[in-house]
Symmetry: D2
Subunit: 304 residues, 4 copies
């Protein structure tokens, strides 16, 4: 029987004393103003016991972590038809997602790169009655927390400066892989990214992915097969062009965000979230990855 | 002494009887409705004599041919500073101008691919008082023809469907290589392309490029050195990824447009325009290229 | 308690009656002559019970499956220094491994693409006293089967026609990432691929990867951490540009070969091998992948 | 009437006093040992008058300049069938000729990049009785100089270290675009590059390209049409990914070599060669390009 609280308590001080904490994302003011010294871990196990260290109830912008949640909602709605519009292969490319999209005729490699997540957003805009509100409700339902909301200031910042996302959406549109207006889809997309959540909330939101699709309230959000498939996509595609490295060092399905958060999970065992705003060169939380590597090494548990 | 009228009269029937005339561009209705049987050639020599066959005074959409005219105006205004924002190398790439732009940090390869022409449009928007009107006046002045105008229907069609150009402009903006709003720059760009001109008007507009920068009225629009440089760019970059083929088969600097027009010139000797709306697989006028190949072969004249 | 024999017995007839069996590899005669109707599965569980259907003791050319075995041997020798010369990221690229290698200065993306496996071969040539014999002994030791041998006819065929591998090795050499002669390294490489093994032998050879590094005889070949890392590389990189698809459909670490074999494993539970010579468009055994998808679906077990 | 001797005499001192002379190629000792202070220009006009400054009769390794000469010989033998195996488009790519070759199924972009020149070498190996000797005789005949020879030390150096060329030739072979053995073709290729010639000899060798295919002795080596086409290829492809820049700054067809030589020509007017061993970042002679820019600017003559 592993004492997760003891493990987390050993990991935190070793991470916090590191003098190489990465660089806080600076492209929008709301992210740039976060202190690089923030650090949190939160773990929930299969028996719903929770363990925490650091600022585990303080919220931060989940950013790309939201892509797993929109994928789950769209997958639940569309079933496997979703794969007509987006692939399941790692992109393997540090720099040129537009190049790949252009070469591959507007079918994004996977739903966790920006182009793929924009296609998923388009699917939700087409299929939800009140897209933004309905997605927010989905997140609240997963988390069993009605207090979760969009941060409009963050969404608006991205709306003004996210030119590369506009380029991506227009390229998708030129290939016929966007049903709705670019502006409408990106409005949804910028909002989904602009949700503030804490590590504690994130482990709840991702609980279904380690629990065969069922949330803490035992409601089924995804089938067992769908859950397995979302997990496989997280493993192969969840960390940009560092997915192999994360699988190699940590060995868990997971997803990172530019706000410094990472969520990961060991199916049937636990779901864990980390927060440390300093990013490495690939855009993933530097200490978050190190903390998770220590977690799987110390516990001797991983999917491999 | 070459009898150009005789040469043109020999070329036309051989081109017109071809049963492989290419395919008319269909992405906007205004282009799709043009008859594939249209054919014209117009040539003006250094002594200002003119020679014509076919519908040489009927107008068609000049489209990408306009890129040489905006380049000339921007080059005249900015001088060699223009090359800080756009290169002079052939792109060599059939399909992926966005890829190249992404890899090369937002500096387009040359001013005759779309990305480069959008940067040039941005320069004119920044430097002209009334950008669209001032550019139109420049074309009228080159051509000595105040009747030249924009076709708003064509410009509006492109505005509604030119998603790839929106993608390109947003990507340029994300790299900081666009000073003005995407919408403003593309409004200018779609209008510059949407000018209807005839072969007869085009040879006048391009007369300065074969005459060391001086137009028919002897007004200097470009220096001799600038003229030489624009001509070199036309030769290496004027026909998308078929520039080598055009240099190889025809051996003249020139520029094609998706409306089926081509303008080419032999410095010090003549300027020639052709029109045949059927395009080959590379997007250049099929019969236009053949007619120009015959012209340089029959006359034994080319820059090589 | 899952009855694996029953599961395999249900899978085989459904696979064998498929009328879309893929295409047998034809680039060398030794592969082309194998009957497309061959089919086998062999599974060994954590208690060393074995289960089989079809021609499970008939040998076939293991080809790329060997790359995991050379990786294991080199990793055991060099430890993490091996990652200075080869990466751990999926290549994500269907067609252009030379392009990637060129762009990334001669460091192959991962050890399971050809370029990476050639670097691993080079490491073994440098570090083993009698490279080919010592590697063969390693495979015999893993498998506890002294009857395993090279098939020289297959190796020689590849030596005469494997021009792309010569191109790859020379490109590695030009970047300084090959210590030995191209000819020496490729002789080793062509031999490692040209080992005939049966499904029954392959599950034994791969037993350590599901058993924390220890073979059937309980000898430790890799540390627990090394084993986990090799497994993660198999998952993210084991199926060329179909790695995501295999993870998505099957959800096990594994490796395929152009001879029609696949080995996969569920850590702590079982190791399984399939053989069906017909390949899909990506070069992986078509029925082998389907059989493994059925295995994880029917058993409800996978790493996700 | 231009006084070419005066022009050359003005150019040389301005070039020689430059303190940014580029970097001498160092990958083989025979090139590395040449003094960076060498400088020569030699010009021959249509009346066969010659003009020279600097070490115009001192030989240096012509390297890639030879590609134009093998192209001319192969073109004369095969006629336009040569274009089935190699294209005429600029490659536009600084770094990845293997990538392009891979994407374009083994048809090199043009005969002046290494891959294309290796295909041309293969054609000559197939079509000449004694390939190396027959090519040497062709160069001697063009130049009217029986003293021209291979430098075997240079050829042998390349044979030992030219791994990238081996990679290229093997990739061509894998695509079926090499008829002969890799070793045989590269032996020819390394020898064609390893000819020492002086600027004075080079202007003679290239005289036919400015004289409609006829050499100084008035013998026809290429038809007028073939000559025009080789010139167009030199213009669009003669300077690697700096072809546009050379056309833009100089405005003449030409070809450079890593030994520091450049040959260029103004059809009907003159042929000129320069030598300065320091190369710029693109691998072209830095002062050679500057000298030629001055030549066309001072004389006001170029093809544009």
């Amino acid at each position: 029987m592993i004492d997760y609280q003891k493990v987390l308590s050993e990991i935190m001080p070793r991470c916090k004393q590191s003098d190489r904490k990465g660089v806080v994302a600076s492209y929008i003011p709301e992210l740039a103003n976060v202190s690089i010294d923030k650090f949190a871990m939160h773990l929930i196990d299969a028996s719903k016991n929770t363990y925490a260290v650091g600022e585990a109830t303080e919220t931060f912008s989940i950013q790309s972590i939201s892509k797993v949640l929109t994928l789950a909602q769209a997958f639940a709605i569309l079933g496997s038809d979703i794969w007509k519009r987006v692939g399941v292969e790692p992109s393997g490319d540090p720099f040129n997602h537009l190049s790949l999209l252009e070469q591959e005729n507007g079918i994004p490699r996977n739903p966790l790169i920006n182009a793929g997540a924009i296609v998923v957003a388009d699917i939700l805009v087409s299929n939800l009655k009140n897209p933004k509100q309905d997605f927010l409700n989905f997140v609240r339902s997963l988390t069993d927390d009605p207090g979760i909301n969009f941060n409009s200031a963050v969404a608006n910042s991205e709306q003004r400066t996210g030119f590369r996302n506009y380029a991506t959406a227009n390229l998708l549109k030129s290939f016929g892989n966007l049903e709705n207006d670019v502006a409408t889809v990106l409005d949804f997309y910028f909002h989904q990214c602009a949700i503030p959540m804490s590590c504690s909330q994130l482990t709840k939101a991702f609980y279904p992915f380690m629990n065969q699709g069922k949330c803490l309230k035992n409601k089924t959000h995804l089938t067992q097969t769908q859950t397995k498939r979302v997990n496989s996509i997280m493993l192969t595609c969840g960390f940009y062009d560092e997915a192999g490295e994360f699988a190699f060092e940590v060995g868990l399905p997971g997803k990172s965000g530019v706000g410094g958060g990472i969520v990961a999970l060991l199916p049937g065992k636990y779901c864990v979230a980390t927060w440390s705003p300093g990013l490495n060169a690939k855009g993933n939380s530097k200490l978050g990855m190190e903390a998770l590597e220590k977690l799987t090494t110390k516990t001797g548990q991983s999917i491999f």
